[in-house]
Symmetry: C2
């Protein structure tokens, strides 16, 4: 366990997103001390973005005061990227970053060690240590983050599973539909194309366009008229009012999520799978179909499903919604220096 | 490394199959010293089968001579089974074994420690230490065994990956087709239903029955007339003579295998995946389509595919046919006592 800290030790976490940069300092009890949110100047290139991040880190450290000891800096970035170098491979959300070496660039600007991690892995780390994993303790878990895309982070025996090039844990790119929708990764039928917020909105648009979903169509038209955007949250509202077409879209997403989880359960047999990201606010709408599909496709899950309302029981397979919310990636990034210093002690 | 052994140390491996029991003693250089093959008396119940195995183990040890030191006994058994207890969960190939505790039963008969392992994991261990993994050294690998069913064994950082209940690595039950063929596991569309020898024969039968495959139909009829069985090997013969329908069956199997591998590569990012089992004799027939699908569905594979005819290069993803043949499971079972004694030393 980290020492309880009277001396003002802190770590800085950075969440490098395609739209926003978020930088925060945390104390060793994971209390957030300071926070900066900036737009990501993707168009100005990676060096400009690194400059903005490093300036913000210095600002946060200054504001926390000179008597603080910096343990380290961790950064969560969107993939694909190689680790530990943080070399990007045509990241769809960071055009212009292909081949850029994030770790080197940050370290030469800051003159201190920086740990780069895939954002979905950072989120999994936070959820494991300070979210769902706190109530369901274990050495291994997997987190799927259903947002604009679908990310996955896998922790095996207290370590983030990186695979050989740091590219392991690409759960969003599990193929679930043969010759299905084209994916940004170059593949087809990836889980991301059926369970992300983007995919859910696309399915709703399709139902509306086919004339099968008058209430969805009406709401889409209203959003367009007010120059707003139709979102998965809008769709969830309709579904909760009882609209069948909207309910079906969430049920379909649940089905594909169940297929993806069946694969993960059958191959990895972990005690805990956490579903996070914005889509998880529709848990009541997609989870019943997800569990139905999972029971059907995974005899391991069927054998180890926990009884409802039972206390946590080792040996059971838990599939639960995330509890850390949108800050999971930021907090997880700040946890990285501790994990690196002592994988068993965090 | 195991000590080079002048003193006659040996281990015994057992391959418990639904049709045959195979028992063999190996020296510490993996040289086979003695071997017994018996029918599995499934109908007489698990106690009778355990009795046969233990008698055969004693016989093998006797024949190896009194000056041999027994290091341990390992047994590979068909799943699903919980580990380390070896408790069966309705194993399709061993009816009547549901709930039976293999480890206890073997140990009380033999009065020595017995290590139970899933047969596909034992095969992966043998392939890693004395097969394809010898030429492509690494700490992690995955083996898919395409036989009557499809088994998978995963080795992560020098340990067999068991997951929480010993049920990890069920690669045969990765869903690859939505609402596809019903599987013995209770699911639908599992990889096993498209890439096992059984599945390949079924696909050939279907093509023949639909009238699309006159040469396949003719050979099936000939086999039936001679009271023989139409096998995947027959089909491979036709395909190599240029029969288009037979070639298509192998290409389809290759496609689904590519989908399953894409999932494993995207989630695990390992350096080595080995394809074993009887179907691998048709490697030339299914591998081209398998690689095509894998490149399409896994950007990680596309980024890390080794160049043809290049020497082994760390950081690349190798997909290769198994080299240990049908004895992989038996040899792997005999390796288990060494792995248990010293996971880093085997």
């Amino acid at each position: 366990m980290r020492p309880v800290d009277k001396q003002g030790r802190l770590t800085v976490g950075v969440d490098l997103g395609g739209t926003n940069l978020r930088i925060a300092a945390f104390d060793s009890e994971w209390k957030r001390l300071d926070y900066i949110n900036l737009p990501t100047r993707v168009g100005d290139g990676p060096e400009a973005v690194v400059g903005d991040m490093c300036d913000a880190i210095r600002r946060v450290l200054e504001r926390c005061g000179a008597n603080q000891e910096l343990i380290g800096v961790g950064i969560g970035a969107p993939g694909p990227l190689e680790l530990p170098s943080g070399r990007f491979h045509r990241p769809p959300n960071l055009p212009g970053f292909d081949g850029f070496l994030l770790k080197d660039a940050m370290e030469s600007n800051l003159q201190t060690a920086v740990i780069v991690e895939c954002d979905a892995n950072a989120a999994a780390l936070a959820e494991w240590k300070s979210g769902a994993g706190k109530e369901m303790p274990g050495d291994s878990m997997c987190m799927l983050t259903l947002g604009t895309g679908v990310g996955a982070g896998i922790i095996l025996e207290r370590k983030i599973w990186h695979g050989m090039n740091g590219m392991g844990g690409e759960g969003g790119h599990i193929p679930v539909v043969e010759d299905g929708f084209a994916c940004g990764c170059g593949g087809r039928g990836c889980l991301e194309q059926y369970t992300s917020a983007t995919a859910i909105c696309r399915a709703a648009n399709r139902a509306a366009a086919l004339g099968n979903a008058p209430h969805i169509a009406e709401l889409i038209a209203r959003r367009i008229e007010s120059q707003g955007e139709f979102t998965a949250r809008d769709l969830a509202g309709l579904a909760r009012e009882g609209d069948e077409a909207a309910r079906q879209v969430f049920a379909d997403a649940g089905k594909y999520l169940g297929m993806g989880l069946a694969m993960l359960v059958n191959v990895l047999n972990l005690p805990l799978y956490v579903i996070g990201g914005g889509v998880v606010s529709g848990w009541d709408l997609f989870a019943p179909r997800m569990f139905e599909e999972l029971r059907r496709l995974s005899y391991i899950y069927a054998l180890t499903e926990p009884a409802a309302n039972q206390a946590f029981t080792p040996g059971k397979t838990y599939i639960v919604p995330a509890v850390t919310g949108p800050d999971a990636g930021l907090l997880g990034a700040a946890m990285l220096p501790y994990l690196e210093a002592d994988p068993t002690g965090i």
